[in-house]
């Protein structure tokens, strides 16, 4: 109904969110430019090269879907570890449900506060990495986010941060439409872990800009909640300096539509980056990982490891690119995307791309899609393991290569337990 009021869908996009609290001049300039960028590129459409497999209509719609809130009895993901907890409810920071914004080895504030102050480093990152990530492919939801997000955290890690920063996204309203924008700078030699957990909103749009200085380390682990019909459009924009480390892992179960964009620019030599994900979908489920890694420095390694388990008509999408620029010699790029289809109704669409302009590189990529191996299943069953349990073992085994990308063993075990829990709830 709302669409008719606007000349075009892009204006509808910009109009559906309230304006954030006004920030300093620099921040408002950045937001204004983002608004212009959004209008310039227009809303995402099926004709866009990277929206062919995933229909953006529900992300573009003026109306927010009514999404039932899943009440969970279980302990939240990552609850077992010591952490600095920051809670957002329907995309809004909740001081009551959060720890004090302070910690060893880091400076941290809300996006609202940071954008109204003159934080020199933040102005070099906020909207900047997002803008860099707009070429060669437009990402209008990211520009929209920069233009209108009023919520998020701004973190500068200056040393070894003693505990991970855990961002918990809770829901109370069934029709929340949230924009969250995090700005992160990991200084030279610093080490920061970010945990994200929860569906966050009926429709969630997040941007995380991560600037890792030479010799910095960044670890990111995310579980996107279990609410069945939620929509999510997430972005990570990372710039990696020399000898830095970057790891990001995402667990996705359920959700009507999830699109996770990750854009990584490796600008300094001897750097290692890994992006991985495991997703499990049953029925009305579309999960899309769209990854762009650019190597613009020598002797760097990047890994993309994505595994999807799909059933009852669920769809998995993987679009992954490794771009090796001239001069990025000795690049070691690895990319694998695999789907395990538990029935004939589900499907997996993959678009792996390598674009290499340097001559001394080793890049490999592979994409497969198949059913549970009957021989393995029979072997397990012949030892007395019932079919459903054997199949679940195969599912967890299939996902294991992605889980192994998680460095922290305790967190990896937590993820494994969640996967198994999902498999058990959805067995047969």
């Amino acid at each position: 109904m709302g669409e008719a009021k606007f000349d075009n869908p892009t204006e509808a996009l910009l109009a559906r969110h309230n304006a954030p609290r006004k920030g300093s001049d620099w921040a408002e300039r950045t937001r204004h430019a983002a608004r212009e960028r959004t209008l310039g590129m227009g809303a995402a459409g099926r004709r866009d090269e990277y929206w062919r497999y995933t229909n953006p209509t529900s992300l573009n719609a003026f109306e927010t879907p009514d999404v039932e809130i899943l009440q969970l009895e279980e302990v939240p993901v990552f609850d077992g570890v010591e952490k600095l907890l920051i809670t957002f409810v329907d995309g809004v920071y909740s001081p009551e449900l959060s720890d004090d914004l302070s910690g060893e080895g880091l400076e941290i504030s809300t996006l609202e506060d940071a954008l109204s102050a003159d934080i020199h480093w933040a102005s070099d990152v906020f909207g900047v990495l997002e803008t860099n990530g707009q070429s060669p492919v437009n990402r209008p939801f990211a520009a929209l986010n920069t233009a209108l997000a009023g919520q998020g955290v701004v973190i500068r890690a200056t040393g070894k941060v003693s505990k991970p920063v855990a961002l918990r996204y809770c829901r109370e309203n069934t029709t929340s439409d949230a924009l969250i924008h995090h700005v992160i700078r990991v200084e030279s030699g610093a080490d920061l872990s970010i945990l994200e957990n929860g569906a966050g909103a009926s429709r969630l749009n997040t941007v995380m800009e991560v600037d890792v200085a030479d010799g910095g380390s960044f670890h990111h682990l995310r579980a996107q909640g279990r609410d069945h019909t939620r929509l999510a459009m997430t972005h990570i924009f990372a710039r990696l300096g020399a000898e830095s480390h970057f790891k990001s892992f995402t667990l996705t179960v359920n959700g009507r539509l999830t699109r996770n964009d990750v854009v990584i620019d490796i600008v300094g030599g001897n750097t290692k980056a890994s992006v991985a994900g495991a997703c499990l979908g049953d029925g009305d489920f579309l999960h899309d990982d769209t990854i762009f890694i650019t190597h613009d420095a020598v002797n760097c390694e990047s890994r993309q490891v994505f595994k999807k388990v799909l059933k009852n008509g669920a769809t998995g999408v993987f679009q992954g690119k490794i771009l090796v620029k001239t001069g990025a010699q000795k690049t070691d790029g690895y990319q694998i995307s695999q789907a395990l289809l538990l029935d004939d109704d589900s499907n997996f669409l993959a678009k792996p791309e390598l674009e290499i302009y340097a001559d001394d590189v080793a890049c490999s990529h592979g994409s497969t899609c198949g059913a549970v191996d009957e021989n393995s299943l029979f072997y397990l069953m012949s030892r007395g393991i019932p079919r459903a349990e054997a199949q679940n073992m195969m599912i967890v085994a299939f996902l294991d290569e992605a889980i192994q990308e998680i460095e922290n063993e305790a967190l990896a075990e937590d993820i494994r337990a969640r996967l198994l829990g999902w498999a058990e709830r959805h067995k047969g």
Partner: protein, 251 residues
């Protein structure tokens, strides 16, 4: 104890019968051996008994203590007491050998209404049994059969058998591809499980395994049937003269 009665089975995808009226009866505590040319249906028999997909049973029964295994799922057959040591054990990346063993042992106990073993109890038993089969901690930690040598895979089969304590064990060419020492280990593993109650069906091409695991009866299988049954001397005859004479005898 274990009986195969007039078993006829075909490939599900092709109209081709492999087992053509097989009969076999094994009493409690007995060891039987089956020998026979390649392609005679020995593995098919063991797969059909264990419940592998891809085969259609046209006729007959496979009974374990009177219960027809053919009516059961593969896991139920295992819980009923059947164990098949595979000719080609399957590699399962991502599933730890130890997790696999423990899940299997406890799944069977659960199905039989017995109490499950906790981690400590299980570990104690598995270490002991693994040691006698020269299976080290590393092999237990690794994914099931992944990167195992031929001999390691076969020893791993025997370890599973020892852990699961089945009533009826079918060993499908467990000796193939093993050197003499590995074969002795496997044979010792099997002999350690002989207790007067447990029965064995050993499929092999070689007399030398039967020097270590002494059979009570030897059967010759050809073209989907048992064509001759005798004592241990029959294995020696095969070893010396091959199958040609035996096949001609029936023809």
């Amino acid at each position: 104890m274990f009986e195969i009665k007039n078993l006829k089975a075909s490939l599900a995808d092709e109209d081709k019968q492999i087992l053509k009226g097989m009969n076999l009866s094994i009493g409690a505590g007995e060891v039987h051996a089956i020998m026979g040319p390649n392609g005679s249906g020995k593995s098919t028999m063991s797969y059909v008994a264990a419940g592998k997909g891809g085969y259609v049973v046209d006729e007959g029964e496979v009974l374990l203590n009177g219960a027809n295994l053919l009516d059961m799922e593969p896991d139920e057959r295992a819980a009923a007491g059947l164990f098949l040591a595979f000719q080609y054990p399957v590699e399962i990346p991502g599933v730890g050998n130890m997790t696999f063993l423990r899940t299997a042992v406890n799944a069977q106990r659960k199905m039989r209404g017995e109490e499950e073993l906790n981690a400590a109890q299980f570990l104690k038993i598995v270490r002991e049994k693994a040691k006698s089969l020269k299976i080290d901690a590393d092999m237990l930690r690794r994914p099931v059969n992944v990167g195992f040598s031929g001999g390691e895979k076969k020893r791993n089969e025997i370890l599973q058998m020892a852990m699961l304590e089945p009533k009826m064990c079918i060993l499908d060419e467990t000796d193939s591809g093993l050197d003499v020492d590995a074969m002795k280990l496997v044979a010792e593993g099997v002999n350690a499980l002989r207790d007067g109650e447990r029965s064995f069906l050993v499929i092999t091409h070689y007399q030398r395994l039967l020097d270590h695991i002494k059979p009570d009866f030897v059967h010759i299988m050809a073209d989907g049937k048992i064509i001759k049954t005798g004592g241990p001397e029959l294995a020696l005859e095969v070893e010396n003269n091959g199958y040609a004479d035996l096949l001609n005898e029936v023809a």
